[in-house]
Amino acid sequence: MSPSVRLQEMIRVIRGARTQGEERGVIQRECAAIRAQFRQADNGTRSHNLAKLLYVHMLGYPAHFGQMECVRLIASPRYNEKRVGYLGAMMLLDEKQDASLLITNSIKNDLSHSSQYVQSLALCTLACMGSAEMCRDLAPEIDRLLRASNSYIKKKAALCAVHMVRKVPELGELFTPAARSLLSEKNHGVLHGAVVLITELCERNPDTLEQFRKAVPELVLMMKGLVMSGYSPEHNVAGISDPFLQVRILRLLRILGRNNDTASDAMNDLLAQVATNTDSSKTAGSAVLYETVLTVMDIKSESGLRVLAVNILGRFLLNNDRNIRYISMTSLQKIVQTDHNAVQRHRGTIVDCLKDQDASVKRRALELSLALVSAVNIRSLMKELLLFLSSCPPELRAHTTSGIFNAAERYAPSQRWHIDTILHVLTTAGGDVRDETVPNLIQLITTATELHCYTVHKLYRALITDISVQSLVQVACWCIGEYGDLLLRGECEETEPVQVTEDDVLDALETVLQSHMSSPATRGFALTATMKLSTRITHNVDRIRSIVSIYGSCIDVELQQRAVEYNALFKKYDHMRAAVLERMPVIDKSSPGHTNGESAGGTIKELEPTKLTQEIVFPQEPSNQVCDLLDLLGGSGEPFQPSPSLSSTAPGPASSTAGGDLLDLLGGLDVTPAPPSVTVYEKNGVTLKLQTDRQTDTGMTVTITATNSTDGDITGLTLQAAVPKSVQLQMKAPSGDVIPAHGLGQVTQTVLLNNPNKVSLKIRVRVCYTSQSSVCQDTVQIDSFPSTAW
């Protein structure tokens, strides 16, 4: 009876099982039998039982009780058993199992076995699952085998050494001499193993790399031999002589030639020869050409060779075989930065690949197209990309949209084009855009001042068509709120104007407010837009009032808060409503912490643009403006809080970074000793000195001291201070308002500053006093503080 029948019988039975449950039953019975057999004395069936267990393991069932049996079988003198035992070790044991250590001794013995096939079993297993311990133990054995054995063993020892070097890099030194001598072997298997080993050694150790650079001529000769040799039936694949070895040699040459002129020179001719002579009609030839191209691009090759390589890639792009097109695009991606112009020449073909059916090819084409965008081709390329977006597979959409936005930002030929492009993307794939798109687009719209009318018309039309895309709806609401008056005017240069009434516009906004599809953030946008329209429309303010008061009892906390605040704006602060809801100035595209310079200039009532670049949070505006206005009127100790709800706004879902900006504490600055006071104003005998004193990382105390060198007393001294927007200011009560004459006394006033965003600090101080019966008023700006202040 042939021994394997019982295994095959079992397999047949398992395959005959009709259900999963039946299969499990069969396997359970078999496993029980196998376990019993393992415990018994030897009856010649151990190897077959282990083989059965391995089959069961491959089906996915647990087989750990076979581990010890593997160890036993490996130690057996019978070849059958050893063979199956080693196979079991490779399948069931890995370096993490304790049992793997037990086979170290058996492997050691078998490495010196008289039969090369037993040796090869040990070598193969060691190379597959040898742990670092085992490798260290057995490395000298492997070294011995690398030098003195037949080619069958040498090639296996070489790959075993590769595994050892990967596990224990220090062993590289041990194998280097043997590896060198292996290069003169004739046997292709040994040569291949040697090249792999040398590659591994050179990658890990720069000294070894230096050493092996001397072998470049030898490798070049070897490669030439392969390319020019005649037909060898043993190694021929589709007309290429041993493509496996050729590719490995090319890879080694790449490592040796990298960053080294002499080595690169030595291989120039060879690479040119391979590039021109290799027949690429079949995959084997293409594989060799591909590796050649990679090598040429990586070493210091001469320009003619590089051009040749890029041309090969261009040829690959036109190949019918999808794999080759894919490979070509992967390689072009690697060189698009360095050889941009060369790759640009193939742009047309690459863009065509966007239309390929295959998802892998599409992805590669997309990456490459995005890398090829430049100021010259932006318009035509963007057309293609937008076309692609409308039909691209869902997993690529997010990537495509962000790529399109980046490209548009860098190379937009005009603002109108930029806005159009972003709107197109939002309508096509609005659900897959990044979160920052909304504020970025809003910022862009504000800067395009001539296009406000055009933009609001376009967005209005988009809004009444479809309100499902949240990002688009948010931008549309914001625009209508801001530029609604332009919409109602009914005239527009750039596009067909709409004839709408105030009610239509309010209807649109209310639809958004009430729709189930709108996210809470979107509804926030819509509510604020409705509020803003109260200053831009004339007839329906009452309607707005009622909307706002309805939402004052909305379940959503954010909406409720906004509505309550807007209500307050209608009732108690109606006089400020126009100013608060005025048109916003151009938003500066800046990172948090950037100051808008002359932020305190002009009239006290001027609104400052918000510095919160990521999100525009409208409820914050009224509260901050109110506080700042009252601060500038000076004198009082703490900022007046009109109502608790205005002071701190709970950030809504879309305005998370607002709170983050203000609370942003950048630590790490050293506290330096207080600098001496600086004279900042000297006129009419009144001298103002400034002294700064750092309290915390972001907080500073400024003491203003006023002295009087005139003959008469200065009376009615008031000081007012204004600071950049993001800096918080608190003026303490002055020590007095009379400065005695002749410098006999002084008035001090303390100002507490908090500069969380570490903007460059400026203070504008207005000083008012009566001197010799005349009222004087002066303003002085302090731009530079002593450098130790911050």
């Binding site: 021994p3 996915g60 003198p77 070849y79 890995d94 193969c124 597959c128 699952m129 296996k156 894919y326």
Partner: protein, 153 residues
């Protein structure tokens, strides 16, 4: 190469070879994901995929999908040739190999693989050498009498 898997069209595993240390759980996970990814590919698609940080090369031969996970520097086109060579070796050994041969003689499929690939690298590039080695190893397989006459330890 990190691993090689042979999957049937129904998603059953026919052969698995792991060249890096991987836990049993992780192996199951990889097999499951490979099965989902590779079997879902339409017929004439590109044979290359990206998965985690590996390049996946797969090729379908009759009812079996051969699937390899490669590192970044490995040549994908060459791996297609490696798969082709392995199938040819199986074909030569079994004579017109089909999936059933690999099911019922899986240990032989492993032995052939071990003569062709070791530690994730190609061991032998000659078409004939692997077959010769297999034949010679088989002669070592003892007959039943020789088998029982040898001591176990």
């Amino acid at each position: 190469m990190h691993f090689m898997l042979l999957l049937s069209r129904q998603g059953k595993l026919r052969l698995q070879k792991w060249f890096t240390p991987v836990t049993e759980r992780e192996k199951k996970k990889v097999i499951r994901e490979m099965t989902l990814m590779v079997l879902a590919r339409p017929p004439r698609s590109c044979n290359f995929l990206l998965w985690r940080d590996l390049k996946i090369v797969y090729k379908r031969y009759a009812s079996l999908y051969f699937c390899c996970g490669l590192e970044d520097q490995d040549n994908e086109l060459l791996t297609l040739e490696v798969l082709q060579r392995y199938v040819e070796l199986l074909d030569k050994y079994f004579g017109n190999v089909c999936e059933l041969d690999i099911i019922f003689n899986f240990e032989k499929a492993y032995f052939i693989l071990d003569e062709f690939l070791v530690g994730g690298e190609i061991l032998e590039t000659s078409k004939t050498a692997v077959g010769i080695a297999m034949e010679e190893a088989e002669t070592l397989q003892e007959t039943m009498e020789e088998y029982m006459s040898k001591p176990t330890y």
